[in-house]
Symmetry: C2
Subunit: 321 residues, 2 copies
């Protein structure tokens, strides 16, 4: 069994060795560009960790891990078009650097590249791997659709929101782990448990992200603190606040078109504080984390081998604050 650091090394090498055709350059250059912007490579790491948890060598799952990483980057390229985002990890997004058409088509061919990597897994597991991957990919698309729709809807419940982040963020963590489990020949029960572990960690992770967006230390936070408040993003915090108060003041801040960013952030944060929203969000986050660790506990594998996954999950949930 490899340490987490060793697995990250295996991943880095595999990512460096990903080869795409030379021509047409406009189609393939953006793939190399986006993949080399970096990131923590959490998703492919989860594939490898699950494979080793169930007693097989990480190298058996390297193609599936690459499929997950390329697919994830594909979603970033297309999401950035839809969200009109100028920057990704501090660099120009693909549609900004090239064009929207290039970003659409390079994204499409990344989806094909992801599937080409997937087709390289041991044929014994191929059908199961495809079914899990396709269900995951479909969930991610549905999550992005819901996220876009929520911007223009006034009837989003907290349940709707949790379901959206489950689809948009969490199923990919669950799917990555399940792929690793399938390739290691884990039982269906264990494969489902590790999927649930990933999904619940993913929901907790996104809730933590919502909290950090308001309460992070600006020095350590990668993006602007309060961005969600400025954009009226319907996060757990805003939805919870709206459900707890018919405060005219909060509604007024949401409706205002002209405002000073810092003033709005401070005012809305104070409303959150008065309503005890940070505690409630923290409680909700910990609820999903606790379910996740329970899922992990139930898996039939040595507790020692589970430690690395437990540790990684803790790290993910504690980052940047």
């Amino acid at each position: 069994m490899h340490t987490t650091e060793q697995l990250q090394q295996i991943l880095d090498t595999a990512i460096q060795n990903l080869r795409f055709p030379d021509q047409p350059r406009q189609l393939y250059d953006p793939i190399t560009y986006i993949i080399n912007l970096g990131g923590k490579r959490i998703r492919p790491l989860l594939v490898l960790m699950a494979t080793e948890l169930f007693g097989k060598d990480a190298h058996d799952a390297i193609h599936a891990a690459m499929a997950i990483e390329v697919f994830h980057n594909f979603t970033l390229v297309h999401d950035d078009i839809m969200d009109n985002a100028p920057l990704r990890r501090g660099k120009a997004t693909v549609h900004e650097k090239w064009s929207t058409n290039t970003a659409i088509l390079s994204g499409d061919v990344m989806m094909v590249e992801a599937n080409k990597n997937l087709a390289k897994v041991n044929p014994i597991f191929l059908k199961d791997v495809l079914d899990t991957f396709n269900a995951t990919a479909q969930g991610v698309c549905e999550g992005q659709q819901l996220d876009m729709e929520f911007e223009n809807r006034d009837d989003v419940s907290i349940e709707d929101y949790i379901n959206m982040i489950r689809l948009k963020t969490a199923v990919l963590l669950g799917g990555a782990l399940k792929l690793g489990a399938i390739i290691a020949g884990a039982s269906e029960k264990d494969a489902d448990l590790i999927y649930q572990f990933g999904e619940n960690i993913g929901i907790a992770f996104q809730l933590q992200d919502d909290i950090l967006d308001v309460y992070a230390d600006p020095e350590k936070f990668g993006k602007q603190v309060g961005g969600d408040i400025i954009a009226n993003k319907k996060t757990f915090l805003l939805l919870k606040a709206l459900s707890k108060t018919d405060s005219f003041v909060l509604q007024n801040w949401i409706n205002r078109k002209d405002f000073e960013n810092q003033e709005k952030i401070q005012a809305v944060t104070e409303i959150y504080n008065e309503l005890g929203i940070p505690d409630e969000a923290e409680k909700e986050m910990k609820k999903y984390a606790a379910i996740a660790f329970e899922n992990l506990n139930e898996i039939s594998a040595s507790p020692i081998y589970k430690q690395d996954l437990h540790q990684l999950a803790e790290q993910i949930l504690k980052r940047n604050n």
Copy 2:
């Protein structure tokens, strides 16, 4: 063995039975919309015909046929965004009827749906089926990229053009036939031959399309005759004319921004006629058709069973003129 009409009936039923999730509606409604715009369903028909040519029942290949049809419709949705096309088969394109974001994301999930159908084929053939499908999908993306690039390039050769239409149009016909052959357990040699048959028919088909765009009977042609001339589309005809003459008159028509459509169409058509371009294009088209029928001849299968494919290919090449 089924007749072509029976196979079309099997396809119609299967397409009617395609089921997508209900929610989110904005994500899935466009799929039903685009697929039900109709079309001749040539590509999935080729899958089924190849399967029966090699002695298996069409129903064995129905999921692969659906994968090809859904994939083809996905490319239409994304191509229409990139080409800024308002209409598809006389109806609003998906990005016009909904939005560009919806068209991007619905297209993405159609790619997933295509892969879901593909994953249902007999696991014995799954790896081969995936490799063929992924190579085909990659080729189609490359073809679309080249087609877009050619608009702004002045150095496109006839060879470049043939390669572009091969990728954009022909590999999908070849890929569809090869999938059917694989699922019928055909030899690798026969699977490659039927792929070549499809690719060569596809190139001949596109060349015929270029000819029709200039010389079709306006009464019978589905779109505006002369559309390629108005848009300076670098078809075989224009590239051949440019290679045969340094005519200032032709170059002048290409560069002019203000012109009467009918006047330009008439003038450029006359230049084509003087240079003998229609005959050259017809000769080129027939060259690829002849290679295709030679490929078909070489396949190890009863000549009687090849007749239907031969007939369909003749029909495709003779349409609308």
